[in-house]
């Protein structure tokens, strides 16, 4: 499947912001419903849920990065450059995800 490099450039951080909203909404809902007080083993249900979302988002971004690297359109120079930018943006989105959402592993949730 051929995706426009422009869309590839945008997707990384759109996914990051969607993940931000999703994590925030899950955290608030979980706190309201008391999921932070239900434990599964050493962690609460809420933390487990947030961690799952975190891992899924990382996997999604990783997959996109991988697929962006596969697509190499050698026919046009601009497209080549844009694909390169897209992969770099994906790396930035992955690093941002790791840094900005890492608090969910150790901060008090509610």
């Amino acid at each position: 499947m051929r995706v426009s490099p422009f869309i590839q450039i945008l997707t990384g951080f759109i996914i990051w912001s969607a993940a931000f909203l999703l994590l925030y909404a899950t955290q608030a809902t979980g706190c309201h419903l008391g999921w932070h007080e239900l434990d599964i083993g050493p962690v609460s249900v809420l933390r487990l849920l947030l961690t799952t979302i975190f891992v899924l988002v990382l996997a999604l971004l990783g997959g996109l990065f991988w697929s962006a690297r596969q697509v190499k359109d050698r026919s046009a120079d601009t497209s080549e450059t844009l694909t390169q930018i897209a992969t770099t943006v994906h790396i930035a989105a992955i690093v941002s995800t790791l840094i900005t959402f890492s608090g969910l592993f150790w901060l008090t949730l509610c």
């Binding site: 840094i99 608090g103 901060l107 008090t108």
Partner: protein, 232 residues
């Protein structure tokens, strides 16, 4: 508070402008102190970065050769990634750790008193479940000094924000929801409080006073105070 001796000797004039009833830079307890420390750390960091940039700028002007050993791309990576990213990560981690301390997650200091604060357009009502279910005051919050006071904050109408700059950070007062804030005044005295979230025409006047009493007389003061008000 490591900054006090340095600043008091270096810039008494600057310090003088930082005091006042609503000054977060004039902390009167450990929670406000932690926030003021963060502020000073950020100021020092900002000054260090500004100095570095000015020195680099001066070098570019007066010694155009000095930066040649690093390529243009190298400078971009050094200045755009290696400088800001560690600084931002360190600040974020420190800020989050301080947040944990402020909400009481990392301390086992006992809570000395529990009070409730309710914002309404445009005043603050306080209740004292520790002392009596029907005990309440308006516009003045009474707390014991020298101990942790847990404030349960809520709102009767719109979102307000409960803030006593010299005692703690601010916390939102949300209708239908309770948020919890810890405050502590080291010594008895009067401290000013204010609504810190714009909430309508009367927002600017939505102030209150905190009276911190010696712990021995706290209960007595409150009882005397409510006895003065004739029962309706």
């Amino acid at each position: 508070m490591f900054h006090r001796p340095i600043l008091a000797s270096v810039a008494p004039l600057i310090l003088a402008s930082c005091s006042g009833d609503l000054s977060a830079l004039d902390p009167a307890g450990p929670y406000a102190g932690a926030i003021a420390d963060l502020w000073w750390i950020m100021l020092a960091g900002a000054m260090a970065i500004l100095t570095l940039v000015i020195v680099l700028f001066g070098l570019v002007l007066f010694r155009p050769d000095f930066g040649r050993s690093l390529s243009a791309k190298g400078w971009m990576i050094a200045g755009g990634l290696f400088l800001p990213v560690p600084v931002l990560i360190a600040l974020m981690t420190y800020g989050m750790a301080q947040g944990e301390y402020l909400i009481g997650a990392w301390q086992n200091e006992p809570v000395m008193a529990r009070v409730e604060a309710r914002g309404a357009m445009w005043r603050w009502d306080f209740r004292y479940p520790d002392i009596g279910a029907d005990m309440s005051t308006t516009e003045t919050l009474h707390i014991p000094a020298g101990g942790v006071v847990e404030v349960r904050v809520t709102s009767a109408d719109v979102v307000h924000s409960f803030w006593i700059p010299r005692l703690a950070g601010k916390i939102d007062a949300v209708p239908g929801h309770e948020t919890v804030l810890r405050i502590k005044a080291d010594v008895p005295g009067r401290y000013a409080g204010i609504c810190a979230e714009y909430c309508g025409a009367g927002h600017a006047g939505m102030r209150f006073t905190v009276e911190a009493h010696a712990p021995e007389t706290y209960r007595q003061k409150l009882n005397a105070l409510t006895a003065e008000v004739p029962a309706s």
